[in-house]
């Protein structure tokens, strides 16, 4: 059994110091801490919880967060660039509703997929356009489109549930179909591949470095020649595309297309990303952290459910983790800064604090 495969495949674990940003950007290396926590929770589960270690359960536990994981990838890039997209779960619902409605109308599944993906792109374009052209903050725009896309989903499918999707495709999404000999399901395998790609894009390309620059100081990035608006637009489009795709995965996984599918998932996605140490103010974080955050939430939920912990308590645990993950790096950074200020005089500000947010500096 491959233990914690995520540590091996995610780019952040590589020790390539020259690529710098991967490691340094996290400041007090919160992402490493989350990775360690993930492994710890995993080991605790293996040792102490009946039923956790079975291949079937592990396949289920990871597959159960497949859509959240897929959407978390572009969301990480968005948050690094100082943006956020709250409409993703509604786009997932719209994708699912559209899949159901077109399927009911007798369309071929092979044709539904591109139409749903194009819808995701269109939704992303609308978000991106409102943010970059109209100049509205992404939080406000996507709160609006959160309602809009969910409303459209209800219009498209009403309160119906559409079922009977082709076995040929549905079997790819369920947790009982795994890559032979492993507990890795196909949606999670796809996620891992895309995570590597996203990690390379974020940490080893000019585009990725530009996102950090935009997130840290948008104006400075603009004057440095970075095409801020275009980059943001691309991010929103990719996010919309991933969310719509996640809608198809969700529909196939549950075998049921509904307008209310994935209700509230946006919070789970953002919680995972923030838990992974991506700074909500932008400019800092690693993809490794985000991936570890997603997997941690998945494993933790599975463990808590297996131990009959009530749903309300699970929500509280997730909430506390989130608050902790946002607070701890800032508290540590502030402490570090205070010590530096005390021991050294002026001019020896550590590199971490350059990118730190105003709130932690004050």
């Amino acid at each position: 059994m491959a233990m914690a495969p995520e540590t091996g495949t995610a780019p952040g674990s590589s020790a390539r110091e020259p690529a710098g940003a991967w490691v340094r950007a996290a400041g007090p290396r919160w992402d490493t801490a989350v990775g360690v926590l993930l492994v710890a929770v995993f080991v605790v589960g293996l040792a102490g919880t009946d039923g956790f270690a079975s291949g079937g359960n592990l396949a289920f536990a990871f597959n159960d967060i497949a859509e959240v994981a897929l959407i978390a990838l572009p969301m990480t890039l968005l948050v690094v660039a100082g943006q956020v997209d709250l409409s993703v779960a509604s786009m997932l619902g719209l994708g699912s509703a559209l899949t159901g409605a077109l399927w009911n109308a007798g369309w071929a599944f092979e044709m539904i997929v591109p139409v749903v993906l194009l819808t995701g792109i269109a939704g992303g374009l609308l978000n991106g356009w409102l943010v970059t052209r109209v100049g509205l903050p992404s939080l406000a725009v996507t709160i609006g489109t959160l309602a809009l896309y969910r409303g459209l989903a209800s219009v498209v499918l009403g309160s119906d549930a559409v079922t009977g999707f082709p076995h040929t495709y549905a079997s790819w999404a369920v947790d009982t179909t795994t890559i032979p000999g492993t507990f890795v399901t196909y949606p999670i395998a796809l996620f891992l591949v895309l995570a590597v790609v996203t990690g390379v894009v974020l940490h080893s390309t000019a585009f990725g470095r530009s996102l950090f620059a935009i997130g840290a100081q948008e104006e400075a990035a603009y004057f440095a020649g970075i095409r801020v608006k275009r980059f943001k637009l691309i991010l929103f489009v990719v996010t919309g595309l991933f969310a719509a795709f996640a809608g198809i995965v969700f529909t196939l996984r549950y075998g049921s297309a509904r307008a209310d599918n994935g209700l509230g998932f946006e919070m789970l996605v953002i919680a995972s990303v923030l838990l992974g140490g991506i700074d909500f103010d932008g400019g800092r974080g690693t993809l490794f952290g985000a991936v570890a955050g997603v997997l941690l939430i998945g494993v933790l939920r599975n463990l808590l459910t297996l131990n009959d912990v009530a749903n309300e308590v699970q929500v509280i645990v997730t909430g506390l983790l989130l608050v902790g993950s946002v607070l701890t790096p800032r508290v540590v950074a502030a402490a570090v800064e205070r010590r530096h200020r005390r021991t050294a005089g002026a001019g020896t500000v550590p590199p971490e604090s350059e990118a730190s947010s105003p709130s932690s500096a004050s």
Partner: protein
């Protein structure tokens, strides 16, 4: 937008090409609803074991109730009665479940119950199909699956404990209202949503019942839809009484609808003149029964529903029954039940609540 003309043209061309390709694919060999129906039909199917009607109920059975959502007062009564019943025959029961009633949130819990090797899962499904895959896995691992209150797809459970047959509910409501009105006058129905399956089935049986000769002086003038929304149901009631000033009775076979209608009637001049009947819960309707707005209404007894479900699951897990039509089992103090078509077990006639018995119920 940020794209320049050349790029834009390129994007448009790509999109067009993709669409053409997709259309072409469809024309040749697409997977459509019709072709998939054939593809899926040979999947699934529970193995049929032999039943031993004389087998004793096993001791130490582990049962889990998975309601639509926890903290729902109605479902809590069902589940607690089922857990208490499990103690009667030496088993243990627990209630687990999501705090929201979304279609997918029950799935994690089913997986958990499989890992915990429960003997039986009792589920009130939020979505008949979304829970199907994991339930089939559970059955494949020898876990018995009983749906109650809200059914799953037929091949994903062994039994469905139905509160009352649709026919009993539909005809019973018309019979009760008929007695109250002396079989005379215009009546209306206040339903939930226009496409609610259970509501429409009940309404079709109501219409059947109304065709009988004793109802020749009773006329159904309208079916209104309150969408299970309190405010909308309230307004629909208002509208019905304005449109038909000589309306004598309303049947509302939905707990949201009947409560809203009762609230409107209780403050209006129609109080005591228009008879309201339907399906409601005692706690919702208590004030209206006491102030004379409503004389009676019905609903199945949720405690008996949970009790029956618990015994049915135990009978399955002990090998007394397999879920095949015609098998019989004893459900403690409720007596003997027979498994009907498609593994359906019907609890019985709905309970009628009025001012004489309403205070003995709390749900």
């Amino acid at each position: 937008m940020m794209l320049r003309t050349a790029a834009r043209r390129r994007a448009a061309a790509t999109a067009a090409a993709a669409c053409t390709l997709a259309v072409a694919l469809t024309a040749c060999s697409g997977t459509t609803k019709d072709s998939a129906a054939k593809d899926n039909s040979n999947a699934g199917g529970a193995a049929t074991a032999k039943a031993d009607p004389d087998a004793p109920l096993k001791k130490g059975l582990k049962l889990a109730f998975l309601p639509k959502q926890v903290n729902n007062p109605y479902e809590k009564i069902v589940d607690e009665a089922g857990i208490a019943a499990a103690e009667e025959y030496g088993g243990t029961g627990k209630e687990v479940g999501p705090s929201d009633a979304s279609a997918s949130s029950q799935v994690s819990y089913i997986n958990t119950l499989i890992q915990q090797r429960q003997d039986a899962i009792l589920i009130a499904a939020n979505d008949p199909n979304a829970v199907c895959g994991p339930l089939r896995q559970a059955m494949a691992k020898g876990i018995k699956v009983v749906a109650y209150d809200s059914d799953t797809a037929k091949d994903c459970r062994q039994l469905f404990i139905n509160q009352a047959s649709s026919e009993q509910i539909g005809r019973g409501l018309v019979r009760n209202l008929g007695k109250q009105l002396d079989h005379r006058g215009k009546i209306a129905i206040l339903s939930a949503t226009q496409n609610a399956t259970n509501q429409n089935t009940w309404i079709s049986f109501m219409k059947e019942e109304l065709k009988l000769p004793e109802y020749r002086d009773m006329k159904l003038v309208k079916v209104a839809y309150g969408d299970d929304d309190d405010q909308k149901s309230f307004q629909q009631t208002q509208g019905l009484l304005q449109a038909y000033p000589d309306l004598k009775g309303i049947i509302s076979p939905t707990t949201v609808g009947i409560a809203a209608a009762a609230r409107y009637l209780s403050d209006s001049s129609y109080k005591g003149k228009v008879v309201l009947n339907g399906l409601g819960t005692p706690n919702q309707m208590r004030t209206y029964v006491k102030d004379g707005t409503v004389a009676q209404f019905s609903l199945w007894n949720p405690e008996e529903l949970g009790y029956l479900g618990s015994y049915a699951a135990a009978a399955l897990a002990s090998g007394q029954i397999t879920g095949a039509e015609g098998e019989r089992f004893t459900a403690g103090r409720l007596g003997e039940y027979t498994v009907g078509k498609d593994g359906e077990v019907i609890l019985g006639e709905p309970t009628v609540f009025d001012k004489n018995n309403i205070d003995t119920f709390d749900f």
